[in-house]
Amino acid sequence: MTLLEITLLAPLVGGLLLVFIGHRPLGGWINVATCAVTFGASLAMALDVFAHGPQLSSGRMFYIDAFNVYLVILTAFVGMTSAIFSRPYMRHEVERGRVTDRRLRLYHSMYQCFIFSMLLALSTNNLGILWVAMEAATLTTVLLVSLYRTPEAIEAAWKYFILCGVGIAQALFGTVLVYFAAENKLGAERDDTMLWTVLHGAGAGILDPAVVTLAFVFLLVGYGTKVGLVPLHNWLPDAHSEGPTPMSAVLSGLLLNVALYSLVRVKMLVDASLQTNLAGHLMMGFGLLSFMVAGLFLHRQHDIKRMYSYSSIEHMGLMTFAFGMGVPLATYGALLHMTVHSLTKSAIFVTVGHASQLAGTQRIDRIRGLIRTQPAIGWGLLIGTVAIAGFPPFGVFISEFLLLVATMQSWPWLAIPLLVGFGVAFAGLFRNLQPMVFGEPPPGQKPVEANMLPVAVHLLLVLWLGLSIPAFLSGWFEQATLLISGALPR
């Protein structure tokens, strides 16, 4: 069995196992253990890829290169730390009577299936399977969003299901169109023409531009819905705020990344065929719009998880903008930003989960004085938010700085809305954060049992990436940048 197979099979087997025993106290541990196996295998696979270069599996079903290998590790890692957080968190929810045994079983099983579908989407070489895996990621999470069965949760899950379902259907049509364009020119081996390696290799530059443009518009709408691009973002704050918190952490930290990854993969094909930057310009437009609108919405939030969901939309918009710009510096910055945003945002959601258990509510105006009641949670939230807002010692600052420099070099005028957007988002986060962390704690507020280890590890990693980027990671980013920006017309 290859390492990739272990990486993919571990969550699948774990998911099946947890269908039966997910409600036992052991279930939480099995969840963690499965994630640890996945992470270990993905790490070993990454070392292999680092040593021997891109790998194509024997049936050409899977393809691992510099672009997706680090996302696989990231997914496995954040999946693991969120599982560590989720075990005591969900036990607490069971004790409070919000989750029954059956739902806990569902939760654990679907958690693993969700990790599996994301890893499948990342590692597959087939554009059709990529779509199937993205849809599966929606299907596995939709029942988790409605896990608490409150009217709000059910509404959020229904919105998520319908909007993402419609959105992703457009992506399937885009995929059919790409297949059509490829089959037209590479007709010989029918079943191979959906393979990304074939499309990117033999198909480069010969696919019909008109059809490919049409396909990209549909793919952008489809995968863009899952990235959370404005105006297709409505599902995202609802889904992220109503589900259990470990779910919010993996949704915000990982699923959005995987959707953006899919979009960038197809953009690479489109760029090679079009020889113009049309796809990039579309992405820049949608990205900048999302970035600005989400920054403004941060000011209007009353629910802490909704607020950080809008912050995710803002950052995804920024990354989409950067990938759209396409110059090597911007691409490098965007790849780094994907990593640090995932780590920071999942750490923040973990902290927010503790904070809302502490305060007994998600309402921002009722969460007060965290730092006095329980310093670990208060500091965690403060440092996490400082990091996500892009303050210097942290990795987010480095990636945002690179993006800003790239913008100044290639689109100087756009640096102005970008800077304004940073300011607006900063203000939006801190006007709400300050009273939550430093305010007067309500009488009788008691500390809760909190596991801040995942948060500390994530934030330290982000700090490390802000101070120095390790050589292997930088090497992957450079290779991926070459791969992504290489096909662009100068």
């Binding site: 409605s146 049409l214 509510t361």
Partner: protein, 242 residues
């Protein structure tokens, strides 16, 4: 190219494709739940007939598998599931009020014209016998989307969703003689899971909102005053949520 120049089977493909589009229009105007479900089943059946004809004309045996999948899923399983649920939830005779029905049907006609415009670059490139029906398949997809947008009943929205899926499958059949089998199987699996999840949701919606009218799903919004009504009614005590 004149229709008479085409072979008999190619003409039959066009005829059945037109009938598929016709069922889309029927669904757009159908307010009652049960006939809506039956029309959806008919659309699936007609789609399966088109697929079999295309498989026969183009000699792609894979497409017979796709046609069989369509019959099992879209003609039998999903309509049966929806039928059983609507009987169980005692809403089989419900009819929803469709606002501006004539405008809606005109909108559908507009979408068909738009589809022909969208399909121009594809048709220009295609040498397939079925290229005349590509625009029809896009129209089926878009009308499914229109159905989802204008209806407020959850069952009608699901029918719209599945009809969109029909349109997508249709477009894959007529523009490329279907996708690779593994992808088709994956898509069919996703559709099946989605159908089951929709069924679960009907029951949840009914339990929480006492209705499948999605207009009642209006609690989560960006309003400045957060949830004053629900709190006053005690629907969401402050300590409940975390």
């Amino acid at each position: 190219m004149a229709l008479a120049e085409l072979g008999l089977f190619s003409q039959a493909i066009i005829l059945f494709a037109a009938l598929v589009l016709f069922t889309s229009f029927i669904m757009l105007g159908q307010a009652r739940t049960l006939p809506l479900i039956f029309t959806f089943a008919w659309q699936g059946l007609l789609l399966a007939v088109v697929t079999v004809l295309v498989a026969y004309v183009s000699k792609h045996p894979d497409l017979y598998v796709s046609a069989a999948l369509t019959i099992v899923l879209k003609v039998v399983l999903i309509p049966w599931l929806l039928y059983r649920l609507s009987v169980q939830l005692n809403m089989q005779y419900d009819a929803e009020l469709i606002r501006h029905p004539s405008l809606l049907l005109l909108g559908g006609a507009g979408l068909v014209i738009f589809s022909y415009y969208v399909a121009l670059p594809i048709v220009r490139l295609s040498g397939l016998a079925t290229r005349n029906t590509i625009a029809v398949s896009i129209a089926v997809e878009l009308i499914g989307m229109l159905l989802m947008c204008v209806r407020r009943n959850a069952v009608a929205q699901v029918i719209g969703f599945m009809s969109m899926e029909n349109g997508l499958f249709f477009s894959a059949v007529v523009s490329t003689y279907g996708m690779p089998l593994i992808v088709e199987l994956g898509v069919a699996f996703d559709v099946l899971v989605a159908a089951i999840l929709f069924g679960v949701f009907f029951i949840h919606l009914r339990d929480s909102f006492d209705s499948l009218d999605v207009v009642r799903l209006n609690r989560l919004s960006e309003a400045d005053e957060p949830m004053p009504l629900q709190e006053a009614a005690g629907a969401r005590p402050p300590g409940e949520h975390s």
